[in-house]
């Protein structure tokens, strides 16, 4: 799996990110790093604990990373969740959270598949 194929699988904009980060080297480095980022875990814990401030910040961080990495799909859902939590809890946050989880898992799965092939290569 190429990095470009990985981007297609996770619903991202490969061309855009390579343009901004000046080539594939940095993109690859940070895409792989994305799996280690604790923000998604924080978001899940905060939603469960109904700590909306913390959940907002975690969603905000995920949104920021997605913007930087051009992860369009996850960026869209985390951004919507972020807005739904900006001033505390709103009912829309629940479905938006489920969407964010779904997109995150799809993103993480695509990156893991890419990583496995990279390590095998």
């Amino acid at each position: 799996m190429t990095l470009e194929a990985c981007y297609a699988a996770l619903g991202g904009d490969y061309k855009d990110v390579c343009g901004r980060l000046c080539g594939e080297r940095l993109v690859k480095k940070f895409v792989l790093k994305f799996l280690d980022d604790p923000s998604f875990g924080l978001l899940r814990d905060a939603m469960e604990a109904q700590n909306w401030g913390e959940a907002f910040r975690a969603a905000h961080t995920i949104k920021g990373m997605c913007l930087n990495l051009s992860f369009t799909r996850l960026g869209t859902s985390s951004s919507a969740l972020c807005e739904a939590l900006r001033h505390g809890y709103t009912p829309e946050a629940e479905p938006l959270f489920r969407q964010t989880v779904e997109d995150y898992e799809a993103t993480a799965a695509a990156i893991r598949a890419f990583r496995t092939e990279e390590e095998g290569a």
């Binding site: 905000h60 990373m65 930087n68």
Partner: protein, 394 residues
């Protein structure tokens, strides 16, 4: 910040996402030393310790514990923001956020997703701009310092000529100035009853040298008479304050200059006393301009601690006690407090063993004040206040 410094410039990145910090650090490459902080609360101690060594701060908005705006507030309170540029980086695109950031003094605002080339370019530009500005400010400071030194020197020379007729050492002028400045600084630290700016302090200290300029018109025999003066002689002697003031008032070219106006106040009223028992006008309390009140006290202290043709010198402690006990006339109680607080450092200040931090700090402060006024004038805030202030002075 020195451009010739071969050491790498330091940039502080404040962002709660490790990945975002890493991306920024990668973008900036090996050209800079990167220091990282994971939230605002962790950034403050770093700034506290090394604000002057940093060339730039890249600051995220949304962070736990203390967000980017919290950091900016602290940077404003402690005035770090004046010399250390901040580029705010955020996924927030709302105009209010960006406006708020600019109001709090950020140099630039970059929204995510960022482009490596743009980040790098903006960082370089901001650092260069601030370095240039700093260099210009330093140049202005040096110019002001030199200018102040020269004008003080000219006034000193002129005043010494008057002093020499009086058989005095020529140190009196220097002592009165040092005392006046020390007292003014103590006064400003103690109360805001007298709204004195750094410019005012410099002006009054400089003008203090002219307090006895009227003695040029007094007969040398009276000036240097060893014994007690007769009533007539004393009346002649007392005329020096009015004569000095008139001399200044007759300077057609300069009479409207703040320095000359201040010198006028000092010449005319440096023998007035708080209780109204001074001369020539018998002014009471704050009818006497604060400049003249302070120079009066400085003049008395130095007269006590110097040897004169008619008396020996009193030691420092005795002189301070005599003034505090009211043996040399009544002074403003606030100034008595100021005298108490500056008294311990006076002998070393007057002997020149200690220089007042002002020697170099004052021009810096003056430069800052002038720049601030310029900025305010440009933004339209100052014109009104400045107008009031001039009115009050008239």
């Amino acid at each position: 910040m020195d451009l010739r410094d071969s050491q790498k410039q330091k940039i502080l990145i404040v962002d709660d996402s490790e990945m975002n910090r890493a991306i920024l650090a990668e973008m900036l490459g090996d050209n800079y030393d990167i220091i990282e902080a994971e939230d605002g609360e962790k950034a403050i101690p770093i700034l506290q310790e090394a604000a002057s060594e940093l060339s730039l701060v890249l600051l995220d908005v949304v962070m736990p514990y203390m967000d980017g705006f919290g950091v900016l507030k602290v940077m404003n309170q402690r005035r770090w923001i004046e010399e250390l540029p901040v580029i705010m980086i955020s996924a927030e695109k709302g105009p209010t956020q960006i406006e708020r950031a600019y109001e709090l003094g950020v140099a630039d605002f970059i929204t995510r997703p960022f482009d490596a080339l743009i980040v790098r370019r903006r960082v370089v530009n901001t650092i260069l701009l601030y370095a240039k500005q700093k260099k210009l400010i330093n140049m202005v400071e040096e110019q002001i310092y030199e200018k102040e030194r020269h004008s003080n020197m000219m006034i000193d020379i002129l005043s010494h000529i008057v002093e020499f007729r009086n058989g005095e050492s020529g140190q009196h002028i220097v002592h009165v100035r040092v005392l006046t400045e020390a007292m003014l600084r103590a006064l400003v630290a103690k109360t805001d009853r007298y709204p004195l700016t750094q410019v005012d302090i410099a002006l009054i200290s400089t003008a203090s040298a002219l307090h006895d300029v009227g003695k040029i018109a007094i007969d040398e025999d009276i000036l240097n008479k060893p014994g007690k003066l007769t009533d007539v002689e004393f009346a002649t002697m007392k005329a020096h304050s009015l004569v000095g003031a008139e001399m200044l008032d007759n300077l057609s070219t300069y009479r409207e200059e703040p320095l000359v106006k201040t010198a006028y106040e000092i010449c005319r009223w440096h023998h007035e006393r708080w209780d109204g028992r001074g001369y020539p006008d018998g002014l009471v309390g704050d009818e006497i301009p604060i400049s003249a009140q302070i120079v009066a006290l400085a003049d008395v202290y130095d007269a006590l601690t110097s040897e004169r043709c008619y008396k020996k010198a009193f030691p420092h402690d005795v002189a301070v006690e005599m003034i505090l006990n009211g043996e040399c006339g009544t002074f403003n109680p606030l100034l008595m407090d100021c005298l108490r607080s500056v008294a311990p450092s006076l002998p070393k200040l007057l002997s020149g063993e200690w220089t007042m931090a002002s020697a170099w700090e004052a021009p810096k402060e003056l430069t800052r004040e002038i720049l601030r006024q310029e900025e305010l004038a440009q933004s339209g805030v100052f014109s009104q206040e400045g107008g009031h202030k001039e009115e009050e002075r008239k």
